[in-house]
Symmetry: C2
Subunit: 138 residues, 2 copies
């Protein structure tokens, strides 16, 4: 049976599974100072439980288009609440970038939506009858 979040230290495989990323990704994060681990005498990595949240956060920031270089700058600020004016600037800029991205995506979604609606209408109406005949769908 799988270890029930026991007292044994969390190793890389467990963290990977629980955070939903690959083992390779975790080692990559460590290489790039996004994530730290305590090493056992044998060299194996041990993680605290909150590493799961940290990895999820990293993933979320990646998904928002931030580079690992940017993330590594913002992470201490995000986790420790340590904020210099410069970092606050950076945070604001990234938020603005994310906002723009949202707007762009919304417009794209609307475009796709409209397209789908049009095509669906065309299919429902235009197949059996040309033009404008038949009852509208409920």
């Amino acid at each position: 049976m799988t270890e029930v979040t026991g007292k044994v230290p969390m190793r890389i495989g467990e963290l990977a599974a629980k955070a939903g990323v690959s083992v390779r990704a975790l080692r990559y994060y460590e290489e790039h100072d996004l994530l730290t681990s305590v090493r056992a005498s044998s060299g194996q990595r041990h993680y605290p439980r909150d590493a799961i949240g940290r990895v999820r956060l990293i993933q979320q920031l990646y998904a928002a288009g931030l580079s690992s270089r940017t993330i590594v700058e913002l992470l201490p600020c995000i986790e420790d609440g340590e904020v210099t004016p410069a970092l606050l600037e950076r945070l604001s800029r990234e938020r603005d970038r994310v906002e723009e991205q949202i707007d762009s995506l919304v417009s794209t979604r609307d475009r796709l939506e409209h397209l789908i609606a049009t095509a669906t209408r065309a299919r429902d109406v235009g197949h059996s009858c040309p033009g404008w005949v038949g009852p509208p769908p409920p």
Copy 2:
């Protein structure tokens, strides 16, 4: 002086400038069947005026995370309104993907926003607040 959207056919440099992409990008699009051009006897590419809109559309779809392979599948459908059931399926799937992406980005933005607000308050008041509180696991 710059040509005033004249009668001379639009060449690659002009299209690049007007659509806001590089010349290299346009050749790349043509290589991957996202964009077509008429060739002069000398081999130079000529574009119709609406190529500008097409390029902008391509950019928008890229920004939404679609690959060129996906775009090339959907483009005829988007521009000509020619939709098979399979393509309609594809459109819907992409729309759903975009929706999910929007949700994720909104949550990221809120997280950043909250962080900025907290940090700003902390700065105004004088000391930093306790660190970040993560979302509950699903």
